[in-house]
Subunit: 467 residues, 3 copies
C-alpha cells in the first residue's frame, strides 16, 4: 500500500501541517497545460492503451534509458532498430525484463511514479519483481481490456480539467478536431510548436516548410510569407483552443535581425546553404518574432532551452530520437534574454514562461529576472528536475527572489498519460511539505499557506496559461 | 506577534539548541561594516524619515521590483520618470497599493524583514492588507513624528556599535564631518568606493575625474597623478575613520599592466577614446593597484563582482539606476583572481573580502581559495542570497572547506536603515539554527557552538574589518 | 567520546532508522579502490609512522592549507622551503601549533576525521588544544612505538579488504612486489596512472619518457612505440594485481586524432617544441586511447578533471606541489565527453568512472550521462566535496537521475592511512542517514534500504572496480 503520508517530512509538527495542506488540494482537478500525450487517445472513443509494455515501457524514455544504462539492449525492450536487426516482440517478455530490473528505479522519480500508477490506477501494491512479473502482467492486461480503463474513462477518473498537447505548427490537428466533433466533454487543447520551421537546422526542414505552405494556404517563398504563414497557423491553433506556444532551442539567445537580414538567411536556407551560424542567428531572431506575435494574438509563449539532443550518435542512428540520450548543457539567460526582454518584457500583454535544465541559473539569473520583468514567469522544475529533490531546489532557489506569484504552477510534460496523476500528486505533496516547513518555521501562517497551496496546485497554472 | 522561535527548525532537540544559541547573541550590538544608509540621517539631529512610503517603499528596490514584476507601474509607487510623465504623489495612496499587494512578499526575505520592522520598530503585528492600510499608515506616521523615532534615537535603540556607509571616492564626506563635529556618540564611518573613477566606462567618468582633482588637490593629468590623487583620497577617508574600500566590477578579472600601458589607456580615456576592452583591462589592473594600496595603508579591500547593472534599458532610461533591474551573471574566480592573489594573496597585511552573486562558485572556487590564501576572506551571502535559504547554502557550501574563520561575519548592505535589525536578526537566527543542527548531529559540541555563535554575530566582522 | 549517533538527523524516527541501517554496515570490511597511501608502509614489516606530526600533519594538505590560510607559515609546520630557508624540525613544536589552532577545523571534514582518528585509533577523546598538546603528543608517540600500531597491524585492525594505491605508469612497483613476496596477507594493489606521460606539458615529461623506455623494454621513439610501451606497462600493472587506471586532466575534453596527427605532436614534444594547444589535443586524444586499451585489457578507467594545480605560484616555487593550492575550475562534460562516449560508451566491456570538482554538473550533466551510457559510472563526492554536505548534495543531485546502480560506491582518496576508517565511517553514516530519510518519507522501504546500504558500503565499489 502507498503510505498516505508518503514524502512528507518525518517531523511530527511539520508532517501534520503537510497532511492538512495536502488534503485541501489533493482532490482539486488536474490542470495540465504542457505535455506530450497523443491526442489520438481521445479522438476515438474506442482507443485503448495496448499491452502493459505499451503502457509502461515503450513510450517512457525515463524507463528505457535507465534499463539501457545497466546494459539492457533497447531491442530486448521492444524498440526496433532502423537497421532491421532483431527485436523482442513479446510484450510479456519485455514486461518480465522490466520487473526483474525494477530495483534500478529505487529512489528515482520513475520509481515513485510507477508505483503510484500501479497502485492508484491498477490497484497493484506489490513491488514488481521477477517473481511476480507474470501475475502483474495478467492483472494489468485484464484491466486494460475493460471499458473503464479506456483513455476517455481515465481522463474523467483522473479529474483532468484541461490537457494541453504539443503539436507541430504544421499539424492539421485532425485528432483535436475529432475530439471536438465527437461531443465528448474532455478539454484537450493543442499547443503551437514551430521548432521544425524556425530552427533551420532541423532535419527535414525543407519538407516541414512545404507542409507549412500546404496547411496554411500561404505559399512560402521568402521571409515575409514565412511570417504570414506562421501567423495563419497561430490563428488556426488559437481557433482550435490553443492558449500557448512552445519553443525549444539549444540556447536562449535572442537577437533581432532586420527583415532584410532575416530574409537573406531564409533564402540561403531555401537553397540548402544555411550554415550553423545562420541557423543560430535565425532562431535567436525568431524567438523575438514569436514574442511579438504573442503580444498580438495573446498566446502564452513557452521557451525551454538547454537540451543537447541525441547525444548518443549510435543510438540515434539505430533507434531514432527520444531514446533517453538528450543531455543538458550549461545555459546563460542574463545576456541571452536581454534583447527580447528589453523589447517586450515590460509589455503586460506578453507572458513568457521559461524552463531550464541548468539549476545553477535558478537563484542567479532566472529568479532575479522573473522577480523584475512583468512578462516573465518561471515554469516548474523540468524533465530531470521534475523530481522530489528537484522540487526542493526549485522552492529553495527560486521562490525567495522570484516570488511565488511569478511562477507558473506545475506541468507534467509527459507522454505517459497514466503517469499524470502520479506526477501531479508528487508535486502537490512537495508543495504541501514545503509550505508545512514554512509554517513550522513561522515564515508564513497557516492561512497564507492554504492560499499558496491552491495557487500551486491549480491557480498559478490556470492564470499563467490563460485557461 | 512574531513568534519567538521563528525560523528555527521544528525538531524539538534542534529548536531547543537553536533557542539557547540565539539567546546568547540576540542582544549583542550590531556591527554593520558594509551598507548604503545615507549619512545625512545622522548629520542633522533633527533629521526625520518622512512618510511611511518614504521609509518602506521608495528606497527599497527589493520592494519596488517585486511590485513592478506583477504589473504595478513604478509611477504609481511615487517614482518619477525622467520624461516628466505623471507620478503618484500621495504617500497614502502609495502605501495602500503596497499593502494591497503584500501577499507578493510571502516567503521572501522582504516579507520577513518588513514584518520584523513593523513589529519590532513600530509595534504593528498585523499583516498589511487593503483592509488595514489606512490604519497602519496613520499608526506609523504618528510614530515617525515622535522624537524617539528620529534616526539618531533609533541608532541607539537598535544598539548599533558601528555603521559603515559607502561613499564615492570624490565625496567630501561633509555629512560624516558634521556627525563628528556634532559631538553625537554614534559611530558612523565612511567607506572608500572608487568605481566611478577606476571603471572608465562609468557614465560621467570625465566629470568624476574633475571632481577628483578638485577634492584631492592633485591635478590629474595622467596615470601617475591619478594614482597620487587616489592615494590622497584614501588617506583622507582613513583619517575620517574609514577602515575599508569597496569595489564593484562586472567580473573579478585581475591583471597587471605596466605603468606605461596603464597610462596609454588612461590618456585614451581622457580623450574620450577608450573602448570597452580598454575599460576592462584598466579595471583589472586597478583592482591590483587597490590591493597594493591596501597593503600600504591597511584599508580592507572588498570586491563584489557579477552584477549586470540596469538590465532593463527602458526602465533605466525612464527611471535611472537602482530600480531592481540588476541581474547576476555567471562568475569565474579561480583564473580571474590568480594574478592578484599570486602577487598579494600571501601577504598578511592584505585583507581581501569577496562577495558573490554566483553561488555555484561557493564550494567550487571561493571556499577553496579562502581556505588557502591568508589574505582572502569570504563575505556573507549577498543581495539576492541574503535570505534564509541563501544562508543555508552559504553555511553548507562554504564552511566545510573555507572554515568559519576565513569568513567575514554579516553585512546588511542596506539603504533601508530601519531594516538593519531585521536583517541582523535573520542572520543570527540562521546561525543559531545552523549551529544547532551541527550540535544535534554531534559535529561540534555546545561550547564550540557558543563560541562560533558570537564570532558569527560580531567577532568575525569586527576582526575582518578592523573595527 | 564520539557520540554513537553522531551525524544522524535528530528527528527520532529518522535517527532510529539510520542507526539500524548503519549497524548493518559498520563492520563490513573496507574496500578502498582509489587512494594515495604509500605502499612502502606495507612492504617492510618493520615500517612505522614516525612522530605524531609525521602522521597527522605533514602528509595532509587539508590540514596544512587550513593552518596556512590563517597565517601559519608552512615552515613552522615542518615543511622545508626549496630555498633552504629555516624550518621547524621539532615535531613536538609542530604538534603544539596544530593543537593550538585546532578550533580552525570546527565543522570541517578534517575536524571530523581527526577526532575519529584520535578516538578510534588512539583512544583519545579530548579535543586538542594548547593546554593538552604535550600530553596528547606523548600518548600518541607512546602508542606509535608499539607493534600493534605498525601499518600492517592497523591494516588488519581496520579490516581492509583491499587497498589500491596510485602509481606512476613508470613505477617499478617494487614495494608492491615486496608486499607480495613477503607472504603477508594484506591485499594492496597498484593503479596505473600515466598522467606524467600522456600530458605533454608535465614538468619532467622527457625524463618520464626515458623512464618509460627503461621500464617497459620498448624504446620509445614515436607515437606507435609510445602506445606499445604504455600497453606493456598496463599489462605489467595488471599482472601485479591492478584493476584500474587513473587519469587527471584540466578538462575532460576528448577528441580523436589520426595516428599521423598524434605522431606529429609527439615528435614536436620529443623536440621540446610542443605548445599548450598540442598538449591539450594530445591529452584529449590519449583519453580516448586509454578507453580503447581499457576495452582491450579490462582495466577500469578513472577520470577526474577540473583541478587547477599549484594556483599559488609563490608557494609552489618555495614548497613544491600538493601544498593545498589546487583550486577547482568550472567543468563541462556534455560536449567534452561526447567523442569518447560516442565511440566507446555503448561498449559493455568499458567501465569509465568520472569524478568531478564542479557540483553544478551533478544533476545537469553527469547524472543524465551516467543514467544513459552503459559504460559510465559516477565516482563518489571527491576531494573538497568528500564531506558531510558534499555527500548530501551528491545523494540529492545524482541519485534520482543516475540511479544508485550507476554509481561506484566510496573512495577515500587519501594519503593519510590512519584516516581511512574515519572517512569510510563518515560515508557509511551519511548513507545510513540518507536512506533513513528515504524510508521515513516512504520513498523506499526498509528492506530496499538495507540492500542499498550494503551496496553503498561495499557492493558498488567491488563491482565497479572488479575487485
Amino acid at each position: 500500500m502507498l503510505h498516505p503520508d508518503r514524502l512528507f517530512a518525518p517531523d511530527r509538527t511539520r508532517r501534520a501541517l503537510a497532511r492538512r495542506l495536502y488534503e485541501s488540494a489533493k482532490d482539486l482537478p488536474i490542470v495540465s497545460p504542457h505535455g506530450h500525450v497523443d491526442p489520438r487517445l481521445f479522438a476515438d472513443p474506442q482507443a485503448a492503451f495496448g499491452s502493459p509494455a505499451d503502457l509502461f515501457i515503450f513510450p517512457d524514455h525515463y524507463v528505457t534509458r535507465m534499463l539501457y544504462s545497466q546494459g539492457v539492449p533497447l531491442e530486448s525492450l521492444g524498440i526496433a532498430p532502423a537497421d532491421g536487426g532483431s527485436v523482442e516482440r513479446d510484450p510479456r517478455a519485455i514486461w518480465r525484463l522490466f520487473c526483474t530490473n525494477f530495483h534500478l528505479f529505487r529512489a528515482t522519480p520513475s520509481g515513485l511514479w510507477l508505483r503510484h500508477e500501479l497502485s492508484q490506477v491498477f490497484g497493484i501494491d506489490d513491488t514488481p519483481s521477477a517473481a511476480n512479473a507474470d501475475r502483474l502482467y495478467d492483472e494489468i492486461a485484464e484491466k486494460l481490456a475493460r471499458p473503464e480503463f479506456s483513455p476517455r474513462a481515465l481522463f474523467a477518473r483522473f479529474n483532468i480539467e484541461v490537457l494541453a498537447t504539443t503539436d507541430a505548427a504544421t499539424d492539421t490537428l485532425e485528432h483535436h478536431r475529432a475530439i471536438r466533433a465527437s461531443g465528448w466533454g474532455g478539454r484537450v487543447l493543442p499547443t503551437f510548436r514551430p521548432d521544425g520551421l524556425v530552427n533551420l537546422d532541423t532535419p527535414g526542414w525543407r519538407k516541414n516548410l512545404e507542409a507549412l505552405s500546404a496547411v496554411s494556404g500561404v505559399e512560402v517563398t521568402d521571409y515575409a510569407s514565412f511570417l504570414r504563414a506562421l501567423e495563419a497557423r497561430r490563428a488556426f491553433f488559437k481557433a482550435m483552443g490553443a492558449t500557448a506556444t512552445d519553443h525549444a532551442a539549444l540556447t536562449p539567445v535572442t537577437a533581432e535581425l532586420s527583415p532584410q537580414e532575416a530574409n537573406t538567411i531564409f533564402q540561403r536556407a531555401l537553397r540548402g546553404q544555411a550554415d550553423a551560424a545562420d541557423a543560430a542567428r535565425f532562431t535567436a531572431h525568431m524567438l523575438m518574432e514569436m514574442a511579438r506575435m504573442s503580444i498580438e494574438d495573446g498566446l502564452v509563449m513557452q521557451l525551454h532551452p538547454g537540451s543537447f539532443r541525441n547525444h548518443n550518435r549510435l543510438l540515434f542512428e539505430r533507434f531514432g530520437p527520444d531514446r533517453g540520450a538528450d543531455i543538458p548543457i550549461q545555459t546563460e539567460y542574463t545576456h541571452s534574454l536581454r534583447p527580447l526582454l528589453n523589447k517586450y518584457g515590460n509589455d503586460p500583454r506578453l507572458t513568457l514562461i521559461i524552463f531550464t535544465l541548468d539549476e545553477s541559473t535558478y537563484a542567479r539569473e532566472l529568479a532575479p529576472l522573473a522577480g523584475h520583468y512583468p512578462a516573465l514567469k518561471l515554469g516548474p522544475p523540468w524533465w530531470f528536475h521534475d523530481s522530489w529533490n528537484g522540487m526542493q531546489r526549485y522552492f529553495d532557489q527560486v521562490m525567495e527572489t522570484a516570488g511565488l506569484y511569478n511562477t507558473a504552477g506545475f506541468n507534467d510534460d509527459t507522454r505517459a498519460f497514466c503517469s499524470i496523476p502520479a506526477r501531479h500528486d508528487l508535486w502537490r505533496r512537495a508543495c504541501a511539505d514545503w509550505l508545512a516547513g514554512l509554517v513550522a518555521r513561522h515564515i508564513v501562517d497557516v492561512d497564507e499557506a492554504h492560499e499558496m497551496m491552491i495557487e500551486l496546485a491549480v491557480g498559478l497554472a490556470r492564470r499563467a496559461y490563460k485557461l
